[in-house]
């Protein structure tokens, strides 16, 4: 033990003898270890964010959404084209044995007015169950009921943002919100709590900001609006024909989600994204549009482009895969850095061994065995790499602070650039993985051992007589 302590002491001494050299030597390890911690923290941050979003959709849910078909398809028709999920299809989906319930919703963009306050927001027609599934919690008043829906009542529940904007001074409960576009009134029966907005997922589900929503019974919406949605935005007017915007299917348990998703896709004629992609590339002959191409392929029916099936369970898996790829990529960088750092350390240690040949001779003459010499140089190499590792850990711990600071700087000095960055980058919140600290320490020790062994053996292999004669 005393030998080990003394050796460690000497190792530190010889480190401090050449501070600059030691600094440069440990730089590689330092970067490698810091990046290990950073990559784990960022990966964890991304995955937690994705997980939160996806779990917000509910792992045992399948979401079927109407999406407006690509412009190239629409261009072939004149005037508004009906698209999206049909009510008849909703009935079919409800028949699937593993589906507990199917919740249809309609959404329309509307301008709400109360007492001179205007607010652009979503008018959502839904069933009472929707609030539970979407995790919308009640702040005051009551939610919509089955009876409200059956009787197509003019009741509405409003989001927290809508409550603030429309009713800055009054109690919203019992007041009536006026809709400019359809010229009708809805009585507020409940106000919702604030809910974190969700980011866009997988291209087919837009980002949702729940705070400016106004919820009414879906039957009421249908009676008031019909399937023609006539939207006026300034001078432009758009007409859409759509029966249902979204159907949330509640599956009886998580295990049957995948099977159910396949059945849903089949019954709606939607292909899984990968399969659709394959068909696209296979069928592209000549300069015709995709749809006709695929239709030309006799063995496969044309995929539906106006409906998207979103399976949070699958998205979770995708998120895991993405995270894995990110980790592998960053891990590779860290590994390269550690390798380079390790080689640097080995290089320096080889030089040190040569430089200290005489000292090795003296030690051997005074009774050091070969293993003593190996130990001595290993301890020195490990001290070097551990110093690099510890500073790397310290800097690694700064990761969240640095990211937040960097984002603040970007927002202040280059807002446009920042706005163009992907959503993930803007929202990422790195989470230090506790396990990464001992891991990083272990890695730095291992680098020291692995790259220290060769120089140490070279030192031990020296003939003491030769070494003593060395000048």
């Amino acid at each position: 033990m005393s030998f080990f302590l003394r050796t460690f002491q000497l190792g530190l001494k010889s480190l401090l003898l050449h501070p600059m050299r030691s600094l440069l030597t440990v730089l590689g390890i330092f970067i490698g270890v810091a990046s290990v911690i950073w990559l784990l923290a960022i990966g964890e941050g991304i995955s937690q964010e994705a997980q939160r979003q996806i779990e917000g959709l509910g792992a045992d849910n399948i979401i079927v959404r109407s999406v407006s078909p690509p412009a190239e398809v629409m261009a072939a028709f004149s005037g508004p084209v009906p698209y999206g999920i049909k009510r008849s299809e909703l009935a079919t989906l409800e028949q699937i044995p593993t589906v507990k319930s199917a919740l249809p919703i309609r959404e329309v963009r509307r301008t709400f007015t109360f007492d001179g306050n205007d607010l652009d927001g979503r008018l959502v027609g839904c069933t009472p169950e929707y609030f539970t599934v979407t995790r919308l919690e009640l702040e005051r008043g009551r939610l919509l009921t089955e009876a409200d829906n059956n009787n197509a009542q003019n009741y509405c529940v409003i989001g927290s943002g809508a409550a603030e904007e429309l009713f800055p001074l009054t109690d919203p409960l019992g007041q009536r919100v006026y809709l400019l576009d359809s010229k009708d009134y809805y009585q507020v029966v409940g106000v919702l709590k604030y809910r974190n907005p969700t980011a866009a997922i997988g291209g087919s589900l837009e980002a949702q900001d729940f705070k400016n929503d106004v919820y009414i019974p879906i039957r009421t919406l249908r009676q008031r609006t019909g399937d023609f949605i006539y939207t006026r935005r300034g001078s432009t007017r758009t007409v859409e024909i759509i029966e249902l915007n979204q159907v949330t299917l509640r599956v009886q348990d998580v295990d049957s989600v995948k099977v159910t998703a396949d059945v849903v896709r089949m019954s709606l004629g939607v292909r899984e994204p990968e399969k659709a992609h394959v068909v696209d590339s296979d069928g592209s002959e000549g300069g015709e549009t995709k749809v006709t191409n695929v239709a030309a392929n006799a063995s496969l029916p044309p995929p539906r482009l106006d409906v998207a099936v979103i399976v949070p369970e699958e998205l979770l898996e995708q998120a895991r895969v993405t995270r894995m790829m990110f980790m592998v990529f960053m891990g590779l960088i860290a590994a390269i850095s550690l390798l380079v750092g390790g080689i640097g350390i080995m290089n320096i240690m080889l030089a040190t061994v040569t430089e200290r040949t005489r000292e090795i001779g003296i030690r051997r003459a005074l009774g050091a065995t070969r293993s003593h010499i190996i130990m001595q140089f290993l301890v020195e190499t490990v001290s070097l790499s551990v110093v690099g590792g510890l500073t790397g850990i310290l800097v690694g711990l700064l990761c969240p602070a640095v990211i937040v600071g960097l984002r603040y700087l970007m927002n202040t000095f280059a807002p446009e650039l920042m706005a163009n960055l992907p959503d993930v980058v803007q929202r990422i919140q790195p989470q230090i993985v506790l396990l990464s600290l001992p891991l990083a320490f272990f890695i730095s020790v291992m680098v020291g051992v692995v790259f220290g062994i060769y120089p140490a053996f070279r030192a031990a292999k020296m003939d003491p007589i030769e070494a003593l004669r060395h000048e």
Partner: protein, 257 residues
């Protein structure tokens, strides 16, 4: 302590260089009784350095017997030899060979470190030895802050720390001026008077004259093995030393000074 610090019998050492075999030692035999003070002399190429390496257990003979105390060193493994060096031999080199990063005290401790006997007891002993060689005030100094004579004193203190069977001094005064050399030789004399065995390799006659006995090597064999004036004039301090003298005398090698 045993009767003999070292006994060599028909020691041979060959070095194989490419196709050629260099026979550095060709059957050297002599004994070193405990308490003796031997100077080994010889021109270059006489096998002096080889003998020194063998005596210091840094190398093993090709054939022959080499007993250090009661142990046959010639047949030991590398690690065993290292332990023998740490526990039974005290080295003093021409160029001091102190470890530059260590302080005086730490340098003296080194052999104890490798014996695994570094204790507060051992540290106290190191401090006493530093005082013995007159460096009690400089325990925290580094070798670079000391003069050559002082460095050699540290080396001597270091060689004593493990209570060696003998001190092996290799041209210990070679790098020192005459005054300092005299001081170091006086120190050796004093240690020998206290009963320490000293084997000294030198090529200077006046240095060798401090010893009790001079072994001259030539072409790998012992050319002569004679007591010096000191042996004749000094009264033997121990019965063992006396027996050594008697043996030397009986073998007819005593030359009247």
């Amino acid at each position: 302590m045993t009767e003999y610090a070292a006994r060599l019998k028909d020691i041979r050492k060959d070095y194989v260089l490419k196709s050629e075999t260099v026979r550095a030692l060709r059957g050297a035999s002599f004994d070193v009784p405990t308490g003796d003070y031997v100077a080994i002399m010889g021109p270059s190429g006489s096998g002096k350095s080889t003998l020194l390496n063998l005596l210091g257990c840094l190398d093993k003979p090709t054939s022959g017997e080499f007993f250090l105390g009661d142990d046959d060193v010639a047949r030991m493994t590398d690690d065993q030899l290292a332990y023998i060096r740490a526990s039974r031999i005290g080295f003093v080199f021409q160029s001091y060979n102190l470890i530059q990063q260590y302080t005086v005290l730490e340098n003296i401790e080194v052999p104890l470190l490798y014996q695994g006997k570094l204790s507060s007891e051992g540290r106290r002993r190191c401090r006493e030895l530093a005082e013995l060689v007159g460096l009690g005030e400089r325990l925290g100094h580094r070798p670079s802050q000391l003069s050559g004579g002082q460095q050699q004193r540290v080396a001597i203190a270091r060689s004593l720390v493990n209570n060696p069977y003998f001190i092996l001094a290799d041209e210990a005064t070679g790098n020192l001026d005459s005054v300092t050399s005299e001081e170091i030789l006086t120190l050796f004399q004093q240690l020998n008077n206290e009963g320490r065995t000293i084997i000294m390799v030198t090529h200077e006659d006046d240095v060798a004259a401090h010893a009790k006995r001079i072994i001259r090597l030539r072409d790998g064999v012992v050319q002569s093995d004679q007591p010096t004036v000191n042996r004749i004039l000094c009264r033997p301090r121990s019965p063992i030393a006396a027996s050594g003298e008697l043996r030397a005398a009986s073998s007819g090698e005593v030359h009247a000074a």
